[in-house]
Symmetry: C2
């Protein structure tokens, strides 16, 4: 039995970034860049005014100026501003040749073609220099970044129309168990509806992968062995990894080219996790209980998807790192917790906020078959192995569950 | 000029939940329920074993038992367990009639058809009662909840195959300005690429809306007035809302059936925000600078989309409420901030974590045209009107930007 940390390290070490594809700008949100994206042009492309007003030469001081033209956004003034001259300019307009200061509208009095200024002329105060935001050739977003909505606006400003991204890793999901039927289909005797796969597919999609449903397989070695034929970047099996005669994943895969990396992790829920390689395809065998599956997905599958996407953790925001457990977030206990055993525990819990502090409260029912509390949870409390009892107000480590 | 809070309240008051549609289980992630979803069956449907072992009558104590059959998951034992009898049971198997205790595998010695137990028989310890997770008719997810991946697993377990959700609100986006061209197309003289719309579309999609691109409109009242013809739940214009002669949105819409609710909000960036109604369609007129647009989208458009979706804020997780600014999150300043003026400011900033505390550091360059710092930011610092200078280590309010 290995620790959660060792299992995470072994899994991360087993994946490399996969192939790439080109995606259009409008479809880049959430995609992970395979190469740096560089600006095609300076932004702004020329010095522009940030206000409505008059473009003038600062050297002329407060003296009146003669208006010689206009420079609205998108319509640059073609001449040059000389001594004693001014050009009416609007927000986003190019600062005309010769001008080096903007007098804002509120400080201008106009009489015919002459303008008088109420206040001193401020040099460059309302001028945005060419390249203020970025210059042609600057890296707008680095390889390994998962692009946000804000990145899309930045790329558009840099005249980017498409980018090279990692393709979505295909993750095949096989649900194993004679007791399973699809939701809405007639139940088997004493059976239940297959549920984890729906949650898992939605998580994989949210993380940037492409889930493929391999369906429900009965508890026979022959049927389970068919997962070896799937064309995917990774195979996930749900159920069939425990110790009983009817847990057949290892037995079934032994008939194919399966190499075990590890079996069993010192954690709760999720102990009987299997990781190995089916030919060249990594296989993660998850426990059958839905809470175990979804908690193991957050801890072990998400890093695998990130590794296939080539995500650079240095480019992740702090909230994203807290959410995937890369960085610890703490909260104070609303109620005491008992001492824990040798397995690292993940307790479903609710967060709240009082007087600027974050508090957390574990649900009473932590059975690994109970999905309702997982759906109501907004965090997992992480209890390290052999943690002593914790009292009201103690700080504990939590993984927020927002977003999936 | 009104406050940010008043603007948010006026906008929220102008929207009602829109129509509904039915979506399949596999496509429910991120959708907002229009009605409560209730379980179709008990989960588990019968008492089941949570371990491999023997199902017995507790009343028989530690005496040996005669094995009379098996109960794997999905294959219930059809007979009844009588005095001195046991049924081999597996995780997920239905507890047979007559049995009320499970002796786990590790405590069982088998000799032929007889089993001996090493330890005491624990009544019901490894039995999951019928309906432990939920009972038929229980609300699995309430109306107004935005469904997570975990909810999908729960709904599947409750035999739900589809649900009634709000349709995605259609938000038309028109970019206004003679200086604009599409990314990658030839630039206009002194012009720039239209950028905000790409970020805005990705945000609207992430929030559950359906963005529709109305394209780029030149700075003429006649062209701008065409937005009145769009078929959408809401219209957003980008640019053209400031005070100059070339800012034409109000003038243009005055020729159509436009009712102004408010113009100008005491904030930075984003002061010249317009809100009103075009016929019966709400219209939000955003400033042209991309940072203003995207910050105003987070503060004003996101609540509008949530209101059209009928999102119940009570059902949102704490992280989601922190992210939309419904609840305040605080962080400590890494560097001092100057006193602020009468406008509420939103400063692009980076979060970090030290010794379990969250710190925040504002970028030096806060110009509202500079997208690169918005893309690098992972939070906005909220500076209230007339805030005094803040020093190193002071706590300030922040809105995390994770996820968009």
């Amino acid at each position: 039995m290995i620790s959660v940390e060792e299992a995470q390290q072994r899994i991360a070490a087993a994946f490399r970034p996969i192939g790439t594809e080109t995606a259009d700008l409008a479809h880049l949100a959430g995609r992970v860049l395979a190469e740096d994206v560089r600006a095609q042009a300076d932004q702004p492309p020329a010095a522009i005014s940030s206000m409505d007003g008059c473009a003038v030469r600062a050297a002329d001081g407060d003296s009146p100026r003669r208006l010689i033209g206009e420079a609205p956004a998108g319509h640059p003034f073609k001449g040059k501003v000389g001594a004693g001259e001014a050009v009416r300019i609007f927000t986003g307009g190019v600062v005309p040749d010769g001008a080096d200061a903007i007098v804002i509208q509120e400080e201008v009095d106009r009489e015919g073609d002459t303008v008088h200024f109420n206040a001193g002329v401020a040099r460059a105060e309302y001028i945005r220099a060419a390249g203020l935001d970025f210059k042609a050739g600057d890296v707008l977003a680095p390889a390994g970044k998962r692009l946000t909505a804000r990145d899309l606006a930045l790329l558009a400003a840099g005249d980017i129309v498409s980018a090279r991204v990692r393709r979505r890793p295909r993750v095949a999901i096989a649900s194993i168990g004679d007791e399973l039927s699809r939701p809405g289909e007639p139940r088997r005797p004493g059976g239940i509806a297959a549920s984890s796969g729906y949650g898992l597919s939605a998580m994989i999609t949210a993380w940037g992968g492409a889930p493929c449903d391999f369906g429900i397989l009965p508890d026979t070695a022959q049927e389970i062995a068919t997962v070896a034929d799937v064309d995917a970047d990774m195979v996930v099996t749900l159920g069939g990894v425990s110790v009983g005669d009817h847990d057949l994943v290892q037995k079934a895969l032994g008939t194919r080219d399966f190499t075990l990396d590890f079996w069993k992790v010192a954690m709760r829920p999720g102990k009987p996790l299997i990781f190995g390689r089916l030919g060249t395809t990594p296989l993660l065998g998850m426990p059958g209980n839905p809470v175990s599956t979804l908690v193991c997905a957050i801890l072990f599958l998400r890093p695998a998807v990130d590794a296939m996407l080539g995500v650079d953790p240095g480019g992740c925001s702090l909230p994203a790192r807290l959410r995937c457990g890369c960085r610890a977030m703490t909260a104070r206990l609303k109620r005491p917790l008992a001492a824990s055993d040798a397995r690292q525990s993940y307790l479903r819990a609710r967060l709240s906020q009082e007087a600027g502090e974050t508090w957390v409260d574990a649900f009473d029912l932590q059975d690994s078959s109970v999905l309702s509390t997982l759906a109501q949870a907004d965090a997992l409390i992480v209890r390290p192995p052999d943690a002593p009892a914790a009292k009201l107000g103690d700080r504990v480590e939590v993984i927020p569950l927002d977003g999936y």
